[in-house]
Subunit: 353 residues, 2 copies
């Protein structure tokens, strides 16, 4: 019998944050690809685009006019998925049935432009300007979280048209709401189970072990680590984890804010360098809910879910088997971490060869 | 205070198969779309394509030659995600750690061509030819399931390049394996909880109630129903459910096989008619695992997860918020069901107007 090798044989790994297994097929990395090619848009964007509804001074779809802002700018999403209105709800017979459960959901959607400069992306911004974005995230998390009925604040960025982003102006979104949404709730349940059992946060213990093993570490500074999780699903998925047991972004010191901005810039620069393209991803912060409860189990982290697999035009499809059965990946997390680790932290567009 | 209206106000619905909530935002359906447009490929395909590695008599990537088959044809996937090899595995320290759990996974991947005719798709096939495909599904489910170590057989189809399908020759796949994969395991857990409590299968009870309410029913024949589940995530997601409490496809009578083939043809025809395009989706059968245990909780159903939202070129993106927080949809399941119900069951390509 052949002995199991992690780089050659199919195996499953366990994701303790979601209490789910994923399938890893290292032997499948060399599959030829004849399917869909993604479009690459490498046009140079102007610093101000008259037709962009996020640019300074422009008129939005709904007729509102943006102020002549400089730096980050927050506004209400013009096509919100959630409404702030307080609705009266009488459960009827249908809603009492355990197979037809329904509840109104109240919330607020906001858009945050990272900069007035239409041509930029996070890796191309100065660290001090990324710090300003983080300050806005803190203000929003705080003020939304203080609202009576808001129990969860999700900050996330969809980058690139392949990730459903419909405007290349650098921006992210916040969806704040009364319920703790599914993925956050599952994560919280597993964090709590671990904390109650071990007296430390799961991510505190996990990070220590990863720093020891070192094979999945991509970047590290005094306060943050970027790693490819042992259970990563997307080919180049990463997680930023704070070294200190911080529950949410309000606990950052000024120094930590700078170090977070710096590592965000470094990670997204490596991503752009990977296929020498503006690297698409969905990213977002997982942190303690704003439900007024104490959450010793939470530990700040940020997920990056990038879809590209082999080049700027070939992505990984999470489709039939993955939707019906289980998430699946081809290269191992260790191989991805090595590739990312070796990449330069200088953006390919600014290199003078 | 305004009173809650299911067609106007954001709400959450509960998916009892996955024990998860989803966010429904009916008010968001009119959002303008300036983002990515999908490519549409409406070229007429020949009945035999020399360069297609699935066509009769052609040579595959790995040098194997396909026989001159007629009708359905099964072969081994040339780039399998699972291997049949029996590997010896010694858990080491790392694997004992609850944060680094890993297990080898053994299995078999097969491809099933629906037909030798390269130009066809399910809705364009004759019912009697779809019956032949179902017979192959039965044979495969049976013979793979009888293998000692195979505990789960996933039959699924990725249709369309937008769903990661790399070859338009009509085909589906089977991934059979030793573990019960994540989504099937979660479904099984919830089916069992319901069955143990109520003494009927969840889907038996659910189907009865849906037939009574009728607003989410798309199609019905003597043995099967197609409906948009109350908790549907994808815009035009549907489920085929057997009226009889059948645990798996081996329990079909000859009559049921025909009726299943007929409703498959009818549903996929409606899908093609929706945007007058060959409608992309991932679809797959959920049925009892082949682990040798009795599974009174299982009830045959088939999921269809189609990505298109508004036209042949605009899909729904399950990205930032959806990946980090919760699945989200814009139109309500009732609205989708109504649209699908009203569509003709005659394929748009064969209509003589
Ligand atoms: O096997 P195929 O059709 O080449 O590949 C497709 O389906 C598989 C199973 O859902 C996925 O893992 C792949 O990402 C997808 O491209
Ligand atoms: O709000 P946007 O950027 O227009 O829309 C994008 O992000 C949303 C939140 O992840 C998704 O619901 C949409 O499907 C996607 O296209």
């Amino acid at each position: 019998k052949v002995t199991f090798s992690i780089t050659e044989h199919p195996h499953r790994r366990y994701n303790p944050l979601l209490d789910q297994w994923i399938l890893v097929s290292p032997q499948r990395a060399k599959r030829p690809w004849k399917g869909q090619q993604e479009k690459v848009n490498e046009e140079k964007r102007p610093q101000h685009d008259k037709s962009c509804y996020l640019c300074s001074g422009n008129t939005r779809v709904n007729g509102d006019k943006n102020p002549n802002y400089k730096g980050p700018f927050v506004f209400k999403n013009d096509f919100p998925s959630l409404l702030n209105e307080d609705i009266s709800f009488q459960p009827n017979d249908q809603d009492d049935d355990e197979l037809f459960r329904i509840n109104p959901e109240r919330g607020i959607n906001r858009v945050i432009c990272f900069s007035d400069d239409h041509s930029l992306t996070l890796p191309e911004m100065k660290v001090e300007d990324i710090v300003k974005v983080i300050t806005v995230w803190q203000e929003e998390y705080k003020s939304l979280g203080l609202m009576d009925y808001i129990n969860h604040v999700q900050i996330f960025e969809n980058k690139g048209s392949v990730m459903g982003c419909s405007n290349p102006h650098p921006h992210c979104q916040i969806w704040a709401q009364s319920s703790i949404p599914t993925q956050a709730e599952i994560t919280q349940k597993n964090l709590k189970k671990y904390y109650d059992k071990n007296g430390h946060t799961l991510l505190e213990d996990y990070l220590k072990k990863e720093l020891n093993k070192s094979e999945r570490i991509v970047l590290e500074n005094e306060s943050f680590v970027v790693l490819v999780p042992f259970w990563a699903t997307w080919p180049y998925e990463t997680m930023i984890i704070s070294k200190r047991n911080i529950k949410n972004i309000l606990e950052f010191t000024e120094e930590e804010k700078k170090l977070y901005a710096a590592i965000l810039k470094e990670l997204t620069t490596k991503y752009d360098n990977l296929f020498e393209t503006s690297f698409p991803y969905s990213a977002g912060i997982h942190q303690s809910p704003t439900d007024g409860k104490n959450h010793p189990e939470w530990h700040f982290h940020m997920h990056f879910y990038p879809p590209l697999l082999r080049s700027a035009t070939v992505k990984k499809f999470m489709v039939g088997y993955e939707m019906l059965a289980e998430a699946q990946r081809d290269i191992t997390p260790e191989q991805s971490a090595e590739v990312l680790r070796k990449l330069s932290s200088v953006h390919y567009k600014t290199r003078n060869d």
